[in-house]
Amino acid sequence: MKCDKFIEALGARVKILEVTRQYEDQVTALVGLSDLPEAVRFLYYDMGGYLSTMVANDERSINKNYALYYALSMEGGKMFEGDEIAQDEKCFVTVKVLVSPENLTYPSVTPLVPACVWYEREAYDMFGLIADGLPDKRRLVLSDDWPEDLFPLRKDAMDYRYRPDMKEHYNEPEYEFLRPEGSGIIDVPLGPLHVTADEPGHFRLFCDGDIIVDADYRLFYQHRGMEKLAENRMNYDQMGYLAERVCGICGYAHAIACIEAAEKAINLEIPARAQAIRIICSEIERLHSHLLNIGLACEVTGNYTAFMHIFRIREYSMKLAELVTGGRKTYGNVVMGGLRRDITGVEIKESLRILKIIETQVEEVWDAVMDDKRQIKRWKGVGVLDKQVARDFSAVGPNIRGSGIKRDTRYDHPYDFFKQIEFDIAVVEGGDVFAREMVRYLELKSSVSIIRQCFELMPQTAIIVDPTFHVKPENFALAYVEAPRGENVHWIMQGSAQKVFRWRCRAATYNNWPSLRFQFRGNTIADAALIVCSLDPCYSCTERVTVVDIKSKKSKILTNKDLKDFSKTLKNSPMKDLR
């Protein structure tokens, strides 16, 4: 069976207390608390794993303890040619530990595997579990004025509708940023409000002149407690619809990841046609998301003409979504056991026509953009993500593929219909903005071909299985989908009464944020917006920015327009009259 090889190797290293299998490619090994860091490090670096997600869970009602699940995707380190596990051996190995509610501490894995840092910070916020030895113990998810002793995801902590009183802004605790040492360093705060807000986020850039020395950021201004809401109030019919509202762009990927996690936990196989349509819709989503990002990467650098053209083409992909699912966004379609809406022959014919248009026009515009030397110059060598940093932080999506690491869930762990489809994985060396945009362009082309193959190979079966299934309490499983920004991982533990016990939703960008500061270093302020944009979290377009010179104590407020103008023209530096 899959995974056995890894469990055996792990068993030789640390003492495994219990092994359980959730799905054919998913195995969980329970280890002792003191063995945790070594077990995760061994699987991560020695066996070639990437951290997919880490889930903290309040299992006091089940086994009187809290539990931590470190889910690793075993696919090979991929740092050089051949450093990869054979295709039929790739799987997920989860390392589980139990943390007693008396002392609530566990040894931190972060010093050995940096990718865990955000997960362990979040485990404290949500459950009050303390990672012993974690270098960065600040809050991550909850706001700074959240009560110290209230941990929302504990089952007995609070009602899901409860909102603690806010503190007055002058009483709010200060969030400490990780400042670099040195004199003459200027703080440049960006955010937290973005005009095109996918998410608001506060970026603190530490600059020496125009050069960014280091950066730190505070995110989660939009944390809405969806996980708590789903646990308390939703049934499986409603959950899929909540999951797709995690993201405004790649919502469909979240919906299928969430529903597939629930399906996998009870080993429910869905009909082939439903699988194909799920793939078609998620690829349509990729088309419009990548076109959006390439367009914005042009816009941030002032290339409005290209931006307008790319958005003109993007309109076709929205049309395509409208045709196939009945809404310009692909929402409201996925239910447990399959799908709610079939595609008719007429729709397929029209879709193929639109695909042809997208294919030719994307190529034309991309050629024109590539011809523009000034555009290329703004992209090349900017925001470099080092290969080793990408490996250490388990980056995902175009972000890691732009650094020359062939990591794509569709290829590593083919789900649904991907087992029957041939496609190229876009991998570009370089790690700069240019490489990432190139990956997106190549993926646009492969998406078009995937959609075509699906239309061709899609069998005439039902699109939903008879919904007479029963969820089993305490079953859990992991589901993974390659969203436009990278791998989305949802982990579901089922509870009684058709409800979830714990739902952990890990969006793609969650894995990309921690490495962003390395991408900022050494670049100019003018490129900051571009670097954030090339990650495709959202477009870092700030409402206003305050610039403070620590030496002269002078400050100045820049408007959105000032900063944007400077990004585009590189003239009239806003820092000039401060120096």
């Binding site: 019919d237 409603q238 619809y241 003409t305 290209a306 053209h309 003109r312 309109e315 049309k319 409208e322 045709l323 699912t325 009945g326 809404g327 929402y331 409201g332 379609n333 709610r340 729709e347 026009q361 034309e364 515009v365 050629d367 024109a368 953009v369 011809d371 523009d372 000034r374």
Partner: protein, 179 residues
């Protein structure tokens, strides 16, 4: 740069004159659910199916009406109501212009149906139209005259009384030991 301008030349205008000309949506577009009051029987299937609680069906304060209410601000256009409606009273339309000016109550649509009171205990329990609809269904079901009459007598009483009536009917009012 010049290449981009050539593309502009090649494809010409990409914009429409919307809102001065209508915007055509796809044939199976999922727009605002359209409600046809005359067809609604107040069975509340849509209210149960609605995942976002946009549709509610409940009695008004003095219980004289069964109120069907749809809040478009909560709707996620999934179309579950459309799927479950037995009479086609609610169908997804092609309408997508849903903005209202300041007044959020304009997003709410309401239908008031006459309440059916239980003939035994006088408790309101459903809409008159649902009883009528059920009777029509029964008459079409090819039942014998006597059987139909018997079924119809059960239609106008509330679930609790129905339960009691069934028991009384079976036992003819006597206490019995069930073996």
């Amino acid at each position: 740069m010049m290449k981009l301008l050539d593309i502009t030349e090649k494809y010409g205008k990409a914009t429409h004159k919307y809102p001065f000309e209508p915007y055509k949506v796809a044939t199976n577009f999922r727009g605002k659910p359209a409600y046809i009051f005359d067809l609604c029987i107040g069975c509340a299937a849509c209210g149960i199916a609605c995942p976002s609680n946009a549709i509610t069906v409940q009695f008004n304060a003095d219980q004289s009406k069964l109120v069907w209410e749809f809040d478009c601000g909560r709707c996620i256009f999934c179309g579950r109501c459309d799927e479950v409606c037995p009479t086609g009273a609610i169908r997804l339309s092609e309408e997508f212009e849903l903005a209202v000016k300041f007044d959020k109550s304009a997003l709410i649509q309401r239908g008031e149906l006459d309440t059916q009171f239980c003939t035994e205990c006088n408790k309101p329990f459903t809409a008159k139209r649902l009883i009528k609809y059920s009777f029509e269904c029964l008459s079409k079901a090819n039942l014998g005259e006597k059987r139909l009459e018997e079924a119809a007598s059960y239609l106008n009483i509330c679930p609790t009384c129905k339960k009691n009536a069934t028991v009384t009917n079976f036992t003819s009012g006597k206490e019995m030991v069930i073996e």
